[in-house]
Symmetry: C2
Subunit: 334 residues, 2 copies
C-alpha cells in the first residue's frame, strides 16, 4: 500500500522540547499524518534552520522539520489559506503547570468538539479531568513515555534513551469506551509506523501513570529539594530513608484508588539505576534554572487523591510543602 | 563584705564562642570564682591580645581575659605549678556533637568524681545522660540560654541580645536532690552577681529545654534545610505549613514525656519575630560553612524519645532524614 492511499490524520502537536520534537519525528515519519507543530520561543530560529537531531531511534537528521511549523496554537487553527483545520489529534507535550498555563487554555483554538482526540505526553496525575470537563464528547488519551531526550541550544535535539511508551485512553461518560479505544489504537498504529522503539497499548493507562509517579514523585522531587543527582541520593542512603518509604506511600494511594501495582515494582524502581548515576532529574534542572516545576501534578494531585481516600502520606506531604517554599523562592526572583 | 572574704569557686569553662566568652565574663565579674577558660583554635591570638567585647549586658571591654587561659582541658587539669586542680564547676559551652566530640571525652581530665558539678550551656535534648552515667555521684545542671552573641574574627565578641537564662539541676539517683539543688543555686548566685541580665532558677529544667526546642527544632532546622532566613520562612507561609505543625509534634512528645508546656506557647514561639527578620539561625550558618550541625541533639534525640513513647512525629522525622543527607554532603567535602 503506497502512502498516497493511506488516510492522513490531521495532527497538531504543542510543545517541541526533547519529548515533543521526537514525537513530531515519529508522527511525520509514520506517513499516516500531516503534522503541524506549535513552537513558541524557538519558532524564528527553527523555521529557518530546522532541527538538528541525533536520535538513538531515528539516527541523524539535519535541518529536519515537520509538515508545518507555527508559532502559536491560534495560527495552527487555520491552514495557509485561512481555512479552518479540524484536527483529528492534538498532542500536548508541554510541561504540566495547571496554575500557570492550563492545557485547556493552550489547546482551545485547535479543538473541534466531538472530533479531536487529545493525546497527553505529559507527567503527573489528574491531568485529564479538566479536558474531559471542557470537551465531554471528545476522546482523551495519554502516552506515558520513558525517553531520554533533551534540547541543546539553539536547535539541537539529543535523544540518548530509547522511546518506550505505554498508551491508552481515559474512558469517560461522554464517549463510548469502544470509540475511545479506537482513537487510541489508531494513534498507537501511527507511533509504531513511525519507528517508536516500543509502543505498548494498555487498557488501564492510570496504572502506567502511577508506575511512572513512583519515580517522578520520589527521585525527581528529592533530587530537586536536596540539589543532589540520582547517584548522590543513593550513596547517601537517602533511597532507603526517604525514597522507598515515599514509594510505598504512592503505592498505597494507587491501590486505594483501584490501580494495583505488583509490590515488587517498588524495589525495581528504587534499585534500577547504578550508584554512580549522575542523572539530574527534570525538577532539579527546573529548580536550578529558576523555572516553574511540575509540582502540582506530581505531588499536589496525588496528595488530593490520598486525602479523598483517607491514605496517610506524611513524607510526600512534607516534601510537597518544602517544594512549595522553593516555588515561593523562584517566584520572588521573577 | 569584701571579695577576699568570699568563697572562691574553681571553674573550668570549655568552649569560648559567643556564648562561652560572655559566660566567662559573667563568672569572672561575679568575684566568686576563679575562671580557667579552655580555648582551642583561638588560644594563641587571644592569650596575646585578649578579647575585645561589645556587650549589651557588660559594655565595652578591651583586651579582656579571664583569670587563666589554656589551650586544652588537659592543660586546665593542673595549675601553673603542675599541681592538680579540683574544679567545683566545669562549664561546657561547646557545640553538642555527640558522634564527633562527646562531652564526656572533652571534660574527663577536669572532673573530680563526687565533687565537680557539670554545667551545660548547650542546645538540644538528652545531653545530660552520658555525663550522669560516667560520673554518677556528681551534680549535673543546665543553663538554657537565650542570648544574641557571636564572634567576629579574630577576637571580637558582639553581644547584641541580652543574656536571659533558666538554670536548674538534672536530678538523678546518684546524688540527693537537695545537693543537686544546692550546687545549682550557688551557680545561679554567681551568675546574678556577675551581671547576667536575667537568670531564673527553675526546678524542672527539662521544660525549659523543650521550650527552647520548640524554636531550635523548627526554625533552626527548616531555615537550614531551605537556606532561608527567619523572615523568608514566615513570608512564604512555611511557618503555617511546616513550623507550627512541627511545634505541635514537639509539644506532644514533651507532654508524653511528662513535661507540660502551656498550649499558648506554640503560637507565641511561632509569631514572636517580625516577618522582615533576617536572622540566620546557627544550623543554617553551619550548613552554609560546611561545619557539623547539632542535628542529633536537636532532632535525633527527641525523635528517639518520641519512638519510645509512641508519639508520631512525621514532619520532624522527614526533616531529620533530609538533614542527614545534608550531613552526608558536608562529610563528602571534608
Amino acid at each position: 500500500m503506497s502512502s498516497t492511499t493511506r488516510p492522513r490524520y490531521q495532527i497538531c502537536l504543542i510543545g517541541s522540547g526533547g519529548v515533543g520534537t521526537i514525537a513530531s519525528v515519529v508522527l511525520t515519519k509514520s506517513g499516516l499524518a500531516c503534522v503541524t507543530t506549535v513552537l513558541r520561543s524557538k519558532y524564528n530560529y527553527v523555521s529557518q534552520h530546522g532541527w538538528n537531531i541525533e536520535s538513538i531511534d531515528h539516527g541523524t537528521l539535519h535541518g529536519w522539520k515537520p509538515h508545518r511549523l507555527v508559532s502559536s496554537a491560534r495560527d495552527a487553527a487555520t491552514d495557509e489559506n485561512g481555512e479552518p483545520i479540524e484536527y483529528d489529534y492534538v498532542v500536548v507535550c508541554t510541561k504540566q503547570l495547571p496554575n500557570k498555563s492550563p492545557v485547556t487554555d493552550m489547546i482551545s483554538s485547535v479543538m473541534t468538539p466531538g472530533k479531536t482526540t487529545v493525546v497527553m505526553i505529559q507527567n503527573g496525575m489528574g491531568i485529564e479531568q479538566e479536558i474531559i470537563s471542557m470537551w465531554p464528547e471528545n476522546a482523551v488519551m495519554s502516552s506515558v513515555s520513558h525517553i531520554g531526550s533533551s534540547i541543546k541550544e539553539p536547535n539541537v535535539v539529543l535523544q540518548i534513551g530509547k522511546d518506550v511508551s505505554k498508551m491508552g485512553p481515559h474512558f469517560h461518560d461522554g464517549l463510548d469506551d469502544a470509540k475511545s479505544r479506537e482513537r487510541a489504537k489508531a494513534f498507537v498504529q501511527m507511533y509504531v509506523a513511525g519507528g517508536c522503539s516500543v509502543c505498548e497499548p494498555v487498557d488501564d493507562i492510570q496504572v502506567a501513570r502511577w508506575e511512572k509517579l513512583l519515580w517522578n514523585g520520589t527521585f525527581n522531587t528529592v533530587c530537586a529539594l536536596m540539589r543532589m543527582d540520582v547517584g548522590e541520593v543513593q550513596r547517601s542512603k537517602g533511597r532507603e530513608t526517604l525514597l522507598v518509604p515515599m514509594m510505598w506511600e504512592i503505592w498505597r494511594i494507587a491501590n486505594a484508588a483501584g490501580h494495583h501495582m505488583p509490590e515488587s515494582i517498588v524495589s525495581w524502581m528504587a534499585y534500577r539505576l547504578p550508584d554512580d548515576c549522575s542523572y539530574r532529574p527534570s525538577m532539579l534542572l527546573d529548580l536550578e534554572n529558576g523555572r516553574p516545576m511540575e509540582l502540582e501534578v506530581i505531588l499536589g494531585n496525588p496528595l488530593k487523591t490520598a486525602k479523598e481516600l483517607g491514605v496517610d502520606a506524611p513524607i510526600m506531604t512534607t516534601v510537597y510543602k518544602f517544594l512549595k517554599l522553593e516555588e515561593w523562592k523562584i517566584d520572588q526572583k521573577i
